[in-house]
């Protein structure tokens, strides 16, 4: 995944002189997670910029640079640090095109890795997809495969809207076929990872993989054919594909790592209920991270993160009485 993301940036930088990368330790250090490795060598300090640890100002400088005609790709070292930049992300990047009535555009990508699982404790394990999803004016991408990561990041860089690009730290080492071409991927096109007629499972980021694993177990051990959907972007959301699936399976499970209240699943469950209520044979099930700050203890942490078993249970609960 990390090479795919790096290639996306490098290719876009070769294609468009206005693209620049900036963030904490993205240049000399080659990126805290090594995603920007090699960029400084190829593009130099003018276009690959180390910044001070000043998140709000890094993003704000990205906003201004974008308004001035550049296409900045801003890396925040982790999702957690985006909290220090929320003023620029929400009050400025997201609001400017609207509040100035289209006179200014903010074609900026803010990349940030997050998620739990590495014993990084309460301040370094967040999943804030829902937080950014809530903000009108932002687009939110959350790739789960290297191919999607590359194609979505290229699209994000070319898009004229501010894009929050959420990466999962556990997926940086993920392997997969990545087309060695200029392929982009339109935002708002979900991927159906597995077809099935019994239950729809929607999972994002690392949970897209958990959902797929659960679907395999459901097939192997329970004779249940789950349809697995990875939305790939949350805003825009390919609701049509999800609804189409739910109309077929009449059941839905949504899997995310974030907190339950006001989460991605809460939102999607509402949309499904509003628009496909007549097709539902069971309440929409949500599988989320625990409603706590991520504990450090490996045992507690793993207990707080959704796993395959949770998804299998939720799917079976949705199917209760019909199998």
């Amino acid at each position: 995944m990390r090479e795919a993301l790096r290639d996306a940036m490098a290719e876009e930088m070769r294609r468009d002189e206005a693209v620049l990368v900036m963030g904490e330790d993205v240049a000399v250090f080659q990126g805290a997670f090594k995603v920007t490795e090699g960029l400084l060598g190829e593009f130099g300090e003018r276009r690959v910029r180390d910044t001070p640890i000043s998140e709000n100002t890094i993003v704000g400088a990205g906003v201004g640079a974008a308004m001035g005609g550049l296409r900045p790709v801003v890396e925040l070292m982790t999702v957690n640090f985006s909290l220090l930049a929320l003023d620029q992300i929400i009050n400025h990047a997201a609001a400017i095109p609207y509040m100035f009535n289209g006179q200014a555009r903010v074609p900026m990508v803010v990349r940030m890795p997050g998620g739990g699982g590495h014993q990084l404790g309460p301040t370094h394990s967040h999943s804030f997809e829902a937080l950014f999803l809530q903000v009108p004016g932002l687009l939110v991408a959350c790739p789960s495969t290297p191919a999607d990561g590359k194609a979505l990041l290229k699209t994000a860089i070319r898009d004229d809207n501010p894009v929050i690009f959420i990466e999962h730290e556990s997926l940086y080492g993920a392997r997969g076929e990545v087309p060695d071409n200029d392929e982009t991927l339109r935002f708002g096109e979900a991927a159906v990872r597995r077809e099935g007629g019994d239950v729809t499972i929607v999972g994002i980021l690392k949970m897209a993989h958990t959902a797929a694993d659960a679907a395999q177990t459901l097939a192997d051990e329970h004779g249940v054919e789950a349809e697995v959907i990875d939305p790939r972007t949350l805003r825009p959301l390919d609701l049509d594909t999800i609804l189409e699936s739910v109309r077929k399976t009449n059941r839905a499970v949504i899997v995310e790592e974030g907190w339950p209240h006001g989460g991605v699943g809460a939102n999607l469950a509402t949309l499904i209920t509003e628009q496909a209520f007549d097709y539902l044979d069971a309440p929409v099930q949500r599988v989320t991270g625990a409603d706590v700050h991520m504990p450090y203890s490996r045992r507690l942490e793993q207990a707080a993160i959704p796993h395959e078993e949770h998804v299998v249970k939720a799917a079976l609960a949705a199917l209760e009485g019909s199998i």
Partner: protein, 404 residues
């Protein structure tokens, strides 16, 4: 003291300042008439700092400011009609009625806003300067902000970045002595604001912000340093707002005498007097300046009054730069949710509810609008004891109108 410029430049400086003054007075009046809503921050008294600055900027330079920037836009050349229409929330406003008083913007004149968050414009200014520098352009960014913003984290962060990256930027603190109602010596441990960025490698100087020529001279040099030497500097201009922080300000934190004292240094009167004494301008020209400002501002009000309210089906416009048939927003105001981008084709139930909602915007008459900072929403009920407290600090003029 700086020399007077030639007659036409002097005339222009005076005319711009007088226009801003008259515009702001009228904006205040229209606010009392409830034609303008929200918060209204007037720059009356600060005209020399504004006009002195813009008068030495080039067309391609960026200017970015705060929530007190009607005058900045006008000084940059934005038609006062469009600024007034924005205060009225109408389609012909600078932001089509989406921004309001705090968010004036004019891309064509490179007036890059109008920001409601104190210090929020500082990093953006650095980014604009970065874009010019990156593209090898000559443009300079002038970033104006208040004394209060010098305490925000963005101040230190942005100073550091600007110096670190040698950005073509000039910072200008409009020090009107108060961060809202808190005096500088009560909000900043270092009261010499020009010194506050020195530790970051940005030298500062203090100037008389009531003297348009002093501002011109100093800003011209700051802009030159930014443009030619890529050296960011900071100017602290001492100025004063005669009116409250906003229309919601009962001004309990300062003495009337202080306001009077500053009025003696009025930037427009003092500059006009100087022009007359030096024989650069005559009484006839001064009168002409006032008459023109009057006519322009009255025409602006007329224009704003006549401008349409924004159509309801434009609610979602410009939220996103749209790519073909993508949809990004969902409208959930009615039992028939629809895609925000399809607002113009919203279902009947949604349209009815949108119109029902918009009907709440109707004012009963031209009477004063409740002040959002001190008045509750009568229909929602204000606790009586709160209302009484508020009454104590509302200026007598407002009490007479029964506004409290």
């Amino acid at each position: 003291m700086a020399d007077l410029p030639d007659a036409s430049t002097s005339y222009e400086l005076l005319a711009r300042m007088a226009l801003i003054r008259r515009f702001e007075e009228e904006a205040g009046r229209q606010y009392q008439r409830a034609k303008a809503g929200g918060f209204l921050h007037l720059a009356i008294g600060e005209e020399a700092t504004i006009v002195g600055t813009t008068s030495v900027m080039r067309e391609e330079d960026y200017l970015i400011g705060t929530y007190r920037t009607h005058g900045h836009a006008i000084a940059r050349g934005t038609d006062p009609k469009r600024v007034m229409a924005e205060l009225f929330g109408r389609v012909d406003g600078t932001s089509g009625g989406r921004g309001g008083s705090m968010h004036i913007f004019d891309a064509e004149r490179r007036f890059m806003g109008g920001y409601g968050i104190v210090g929020g414009n500082l990093p953006i200014a650095a980014g604009l300067a970065l874009s010019s520098d990156f593209k090898g352009e000559d443009a300079v960014t002038v970033c104006m902000f208040g004394d209060g913003a010098s305490n925000a984290g963005n101040f230190g962060e942005t100073m550091n970045l600007a110096a670190l990256w040698s950005l073509p930027i000039l910072f200008l603190v409009e020090n009107n002595l108060y961060g809202m109602g808190t005096a500088v010596e009560r909000h900043s441990a270092q009261t010499d604001l020009s010194a506050k960025a020195e530790g970051y490698g940005i030298p500062g100087r203090r100037i008389d912000g009531m003297d348009v020529l002093a501002v011109r001279e100093s800003v011209a040099e700051g802009v030159r340093l930014a443009r030619e030497e890529r050296r960011p500097t900071l100017i602290e201009a001492f100025t004063y707002r005669y009116r409250g922080h906003s229309a919601a300000d009962p001004e309990v934190y300062r003495e009337r005498e202080e306001v009077e004292e500053w009025r003696q240094k009025d930037p427009i009167e003092s500059f006009g007097r100087r022009c007359i004494e030096a024989g650069v301008l005559g009484e006839r020209e001064l009168q002409e300046v006032r008459d023109k400002a009057e006519a322009t501002v009255l025409a602006a009000v007329e224009f704003a009054e006549a401008s349409e309210e924004p159509p309801l089906d434009t609610l979602y416009e410009n939220l996103y730069v749209l790519d073909s048939d993508a949809w990004y927003a969902v409208d959930e105001r009615s039992p028939e949710p629809h895609r925000g981008e399809h607002e113009s084709e919203m279902p009947d139930a949604a349209r009815e509810l949108a119109e029902a909602g918009a009907a709440y915007a109707e004012q009963p008459d031209d009477g004063p609008r409740p002040n959002p900072a001190v008045d509750g929403d009568a229909e929602l009920g204000v606790e009586p004891e709160v209302a009484e407290e508020v009454e104590d600090i509302v200026p007598p003029a407002q009490q007479r109108r029964g506004e409290s």
